[in-house]
């Protein structure tokens, strides 16, 4: 990746970022839901298959 491509990438990324949402509360809500699913799967497997 040459200097021009890097500059192009950074410019494009800054535009996409400015069109996005703040991490809190939008992304953190998804992260929280996924964390709950992960914990649920771990507990379920521990109950079903034991140690």
């Amino acid at each position: 990746m040459n200097a021009r491509e890097r500059e192009q990438y950074l410019r494009e990324y800054s535009i996409l970022k400015s069109q996005g949402h703040p991490f809190f509360p939008y992304a953190i809500a998804k992260d929280g839901a996924m964390a709950a699913i992960t914990l649920g799967v771990i507990i379920l497997m521990a109950i079903l298959f034991c140690a």
Binding site: K17, G20, P22, F23, F24, K30, M34, I42, M45, C50
Partner: protein, 280 residues
């Protein structure tokens, strides 16, 4: 010559009056509260909010954490981010689950060749909720490794390993190796026939590696052969050295994610008119 009075720091400036609270507890209309004006008494909810705000203010004045937290929490995530982007935080949550369940297991486990198997059996059969906690630790490790590979796949296929995130990719690969090492060192700890012989095979595979292999195997075994100190070495690596490294590298990984931002999905491109506006 008189020197000018230095400005008062923001932290020491008196808080502005709440609406409806004038001087001397009046009602905000120049009434001091003694001429028939309404004096509103703060409700328990107001007091709780005030108490929480002052506690947060006290902490912030001493740590200066609010600019960092504000930057971390309110940073923008590019449009188009989806559920695939939650795999990294899910992996970190699995690690936290492992840390918590591991602490509980360590309260009852004895890393001694003559007592390790009995202590592991006691956790499963006698300790309150021991079977559940041990099961969560056992299956949590599997879930964590599956999540790491899924997170790695997302990073690879979305091109998130490219400029400027190469260093974060390298840190992620080191985290993968350390997590696999956690699996290897933890597998011996129940000290039953299966875990013992599986570890013997794994360490012998290590020993067959070029140049450093034999030294690595000697280090893992705590000598040329499996002996009484092998299990305490695995326990120390599993409980202290590797989790400490993982926690430190997760911190570095998160710092770089917050600093460089999350990658936008590769199929999403900024519109041409936006680019041309930027170029002007």
């Amino acid at each position: 010559m008189k020197l000018p009075t230095p400005p008062i720091p923001n932290a020491l400036r008196p808080a502005p009056k709440r609406p409806g609270h004038g001087r001397n507890g009046g009602n905000g209309n120049g009434d001091n509260g003694q001429n028939g004006g309404l004096v509103t008494k703060p409700t328990p909810k107001d007091q709780a909010v005030e108490g929480a705000a002052s506690a947060v203010g006290w902490l912030d004045e001493r740590t200066g954490a609010s600019p960092f937290l504000r930057g971390f929490l309110y940073r923008k995530v590019p449009k188009g981010t989806n559920w695939f982007y939650t795999l990294g935080s899910a992996t970190m949550f699995a690690f936290l689950s492992q840390a918590v369940t591991g602490v509980f297991l360590a309260m009852y486990y004895e890393p001694d060749p003559t007592r390790a198997y009995e202590s592991a059996s006691r956790i499963t059969n006698e300790v309150f909720l021991g079977e559940l906690v041990r099961g969560m630790h056992r299956w949590g490790s599997t879930v964590m490794i599956v999540l790491i590979f899924m997170h790695m796949g997302r990073t690879f296929f979305f091109g998130a390993y490219k400029y400027p995130r190469e260093l974060n990719w390298v840190i992620g690969v080191v985290l993968l190796v350390l997590t696999l090492a956690m699996g290897l060192t933890g597998y011996l700890l129940p000290f039953d026939q299966r875990s013992f012989w599986a570890t013997v095979v794994a360490v012998n595979i290590n020993a067959s590696g070029p140049v450093v292999g034999p030294y690595l195997a000697d280090f893992l075994r705590a000598g040329a052969e499996f002996g009484p100190t092998t299990i305490s070495r695995f326990y120390a690596l599993h409980m202290l050295a590797i989790p400490g490294l993982i926690a430190a590298l997760i911190g570095a990984h998160l710092y770089l994610v917050a600093k460089q931002g999350t990658t936008a999905p590769p199929w999403l491109k900024a519109e041409k008119k936006d680019l041309s506006t930027e170029e002007v």
